[in-house]
Symmetry: C2
Subunit: 326 residues, 2 copies
């Protein structure tokens, strides 16, 4: 048994130590075989995968390898949350230089697995000149999942929490030095360890939400995707901005992993969110798919999207997370 | 809608055109939402993920981007085959430079999806300085999957087909120039477009195989993993070598994606493989876990494994595919 299998055994025991409640059930086999064997459970199965690339989605001069591991898990949990589902299992595929501190990376992965109740059941470990972590996740949803495409004119538009903290946190890290106070600490934490809105996703589904998406690219871009998929327009009256952030951060910063959803019945929404942080009603869906307004003016289109495969050969790519879920 | 979403729509339609029979069932939603929604079907669920890195697992100066896409799918299909399962759905996460020819990459992915009946239901597309393709796959198995750990002393050891063709093909590509004949063509094809042994995996499970693994690192390494997991030793009498390859290729070349399995009943194996290429009986499992022999002599330990996370910081990494499934 040589290096990588020894590393795998260490990492597997690290995962088990961090989340002792997450163990294979009867008939299940997790890490250590060609594939993991799991029992899918009732309801439909959700499947998602997202990649975090060193230097693109996480600047390791600002945040840690453990934060990168957390983030790779969290962004996938957020995809399941945005369907109104519950995460079930994760596969973690790590490519990176041989000297990568895998224990530190897996400390963040294991912490996220424990926090979100989503065990790592398998994956892959390969050599690459650059650190690339892809997590694939399964989730379960009982009843109908909440798609992006179900919004109808007249639906209220809700956000599960204030936006922009991640962008403000990145700015704070780039400024350098220690955090300047509790708000600064909070926005840094929001950037380093984003928190998927799993309970809010379930509540939105229970409230009869027609459509939902997570805010990974910024409210403008992501609400735009939802409206595109649903064939509706929207008028927003307000944007909930996190303390320490700006409205521009909220509209275009991205990586907040709050949920945006549309629902016909405000009373049902408030009832379903009893005991959770109250979501905010920010606007309404309209008939005209071309209408995209904030306080009566055209919504600025911002966000981190980049020009995939249409950039000139060898040309520079735009900054930012630059990810498109399929 | 900007570059990457336009690219996604093109790629999605490319997938649909290549495999028109693979379409979402009732209640399913594939590409285009935060997560794919699928119906898991009966039996246990298999989950696996494997990564192919440009320059590490695929030399793009020798084989094409479409071959890389095929390979990323095929190695995952092989993981499902090695459990005795049937692949169900794939997620494809691509990280790469903006000028990557995604259409060519997806031509290989789509061809594999069609060939193996495994639709791509979602994934991710992100910017990175280097091309890294991770595929995660679900599979189904009715009854008990065939693990690595079930081999018992006295079991016959079988290989689903001859080995070493992929290593011989890589050598042929590196030599350069056109293929020198049909054997040379065949070994190049085995390297560029490996073929997972899905039917053999099913037949082995039906035959009552006790343990199974796919040959990704070479027979020595992979049979070693099986023996380690099962706590058995083995004596091999022969190694089936592909035409154009050497015994060293078969033992240490890897990437053949044939299956090695152990089974107590040779008659049951031959019956289950009726109509398929006949598997070859190459040896027997023994009581002593320390025994690893070929024709009476100690089996050379070779294969592409590398020193993950134990290499000195900044030190060189060993050549070869360098992957460890979890």
């Amino acid at each position: 048994m040589r290096g990588e299998f020894a590393a795998l055994i260490r990492l597997t025991s690290q995962l088990a130590d961090t989340a002792p409640d997450l163990r294979p059930g009867p008939g299940e086999t997790w890490i250590g075989d060609d594939a993991a064997v799991v029992t899918p459970g009732p309801g439909r199965l959700l499947l998602a995968a997202d990649t975090v690339v060193e230097g693109v989605h996480a600047d390791l001069t600002l945040t840690g390898l453990d934060d990168l591991g957390w983030k790779a898990m969290a962004v996938n949990m957020s995809d399941i949350a945005a369907m109104g589902g519950v995460p079930a299992q994760a596969l973690v595929a790590v490519s990176g230089p041989a000297q990568t501190d895998l224990e530190l990376l897996y400390r963040g992965i294991a912490a996220a697995a424990a926090c979100f109740g989503c065990p790592v059941v398998g994956g892959d470990l390969t050599n690459a000149p650059l650190l690339v972590v892809t997590v694939a996740v399964t989730g379960r949803v009982e009843g109908a999942p909440v798609l992006r495409s179900g919004a109808r004119p007249g639906d209220g538009i809700w956000v599960s929490g204030p936006l922009g903290a991640s962008a403000a946190g990145l700015r704070s890290y780039r400024r350098g030095g220690p955090a300047t106070g509790t708000v600064d600490q909070a926005v840094r934490a929001a950037h380093a360890r984003p928190s998927p809105a799993l309970r809010a996703g379930l509540a939105a589904r229970e409230a009869g939400a027609h459509a939902m998406i997570d805010v990974s690219d910024g409210l403008s871009a992501d609400l735009g995707h939802l409206a595109d998929a649903s064939g509706v327009g929207f008028r927003l009256e307000r944007v909930p901005v996190a303390e320490g952030a700006t409205e521009a951060d909220a509209l275009g910063g991205g990586e907040d992993y709050a949920l945006v959803f549309t629902a016909p019945d405000a009373t049902a929404v408030r009832a379903a969110f009893a005991g959770l942080a109250a979501p905010e009603l920010i606007g309404v869906c309209t008939e005209d798919p071309g209408e995209r307004r904030l306080r009566g003016r055209p919504l600025p289109v911002t966000g981190w999207e980049h020009e995939w495969s249409e950039a000139p050969a060898g040309g520079p790519s735009a900054p930012g997370p630059g990810a498109a879920g399929m």
